[in-house]
Symmetry: C2
């Protein structure tokens, strides 16, 4: 089977022009078929502030009301996505920007309004890879922002980590699929204050122990959940770390295995 | 040769939710391969006002400075384009949103800064249809917003009428290409105050007479220029009128012929 690399980058790279540019430089040179998924970063919040839009939160989680959905559609699918595509083209990587509505690639279901109404947030229901496969075969690189749709005309805000893992799972049958979560740390850390305490390997078994021992907490919980879910659904390889893991043989990072 | 319909809709449809929805209903049912190009409408100006951005004009023409380019990238490529794509998906039309950067489909050159510096405005230099052809063959419908790129990482604001005609010209060799400009009037009017004065046919020869007679003036000049250019470059058919021309046999509209 051919290798497919699915790479997710988060807000820390998006928000830093130099970091984004040097990441895209590396990404563009990856020879195998590849897909990029990007998060949103601080731009949406900045624009919300400029527009005087109130950010609604419940239990520390953002509520996606209609105005917020419009805003992230503009920022994620418009400004961030199209500028990434244009920059990749300048580096001779033939990219096409995608939301989950484009090519009907990711259908999601609006989250139930109880117990908490998160607004226009979608949980992934189905991934259609046919169109993406055709494009990959023609050396085109899809670049996804964190939006999906319900196939009834409604765009929905969806977690970028989840989009990455669901795409990887969708491709697992057809490609030896590698999933990379790039973020600001060297990987999953045993001691969050020590960048050298990277846990090199996490198995689906040791994962549970790390939760019980409260080593994996807070934001790392849903991220790791996506990783383990992907490995269980036959994604070949899942890695978490800094973008350096993509090219530096000596880089420290975390690999999730069965 | 297979028929390809390239249809451009302008601000008057984009700004009217009901008109847009009923247009997309018709568009979705078109059986032949098809491409949609949409203009921007008033949303960009509204958002500029909300953000307190000053709209800079020279000789009645808008200047696209960096802030304006960001804004139209958000509104055209983000909000408008993705909502059209999502709505087409709900009508079982498998659409993918495009700017000219996506798939490297439309490369343009930033307009020279003399005599007037229009800012980030691009004049089309080259159209690459390969990726679009692959998608059309797989029954995917590209939906273009009015942005192109310079292949050096810079997005550029480009006239939507021009994008439509340049795409049509690019496809003329491979498809029997029909180009439809949908706008708020029944067609090119002999008397601008009389909707019944539609000129049914304009040839490349009568075109010059209509300009000399000042029948074609103002905003119709560049529009007709795009039409005539397309016909001269072997586009099979070019029509201007209300969206009804797409399905109503009795509709009045203007056809441009050689």
């Amino acid at each position: 089977m051919k290798t497919l690399k699915i790479i997710k980058i988060g807000g820390n790279i998006i928000d830093n022009e130099a970091a984004l540019s040097s990441f895209l430089e590396v990404f563009a040179t990856i020879n195998s078929p590849k897909i990029l998924i990007h998060g949103g970063g601080k731009l949406a919040t900045q624009l919300a502030n400029q527009l005087g839009l109130e950010v609604k939160m419940i239990d520390g989680r953002r509520i996606t009301d209609k105005a917020t959905l419009d805003l992230i559609t503009m920022v994620y699918a418009g400004k961030i996505n199209k500028n990434i595509v244009a920059e990749l083209q300048s580096k001779n990587c033939n990219a096409i920007g995608f939301s989950g509505a484009d090519g009907n690639t990711i259908i999601s279901k609006k989250r139930p309004v109880k117990p908490i109404d998160f607004g226009f947030v979608g949980d992934v229901k189905k991934v259609n890879i046919e169109t993406l496969q055709v494009l990959l075969e023609h050396k085109v690189t899809p670049v996804f922002c964190a939006l999906t749709h319900d196939k009834k005309g409604q765009l929905l805000n969806t977690n970028a980590d989840t989009i990455a893992s669901e795409l990887a799972i969708g491709f697992a049958k057809y490609y030896q699929t590698e999933l990379y979560y790039c973020f600001e740390k060297n990987g999953v850390l045993r001691d969050v204050s020590d960048e050298n305490s990277v846990i090199r390997e996490i198995t689906t078994q040791s994962y549970q122990n790390l939760i019980d021992d409260k080593v994996i907490v807070d934001g790392m919980l849903p991220k790791l959940n996506n990783c383990v879910h992907a490995i269980e659904k036959n994604v070949y390889k899942v890695c978490i770390g800094k973008p350096e893991m993509l090219y530096d043989d000596k880089a420290n990072f975390t690999t999730i295995t069965k």
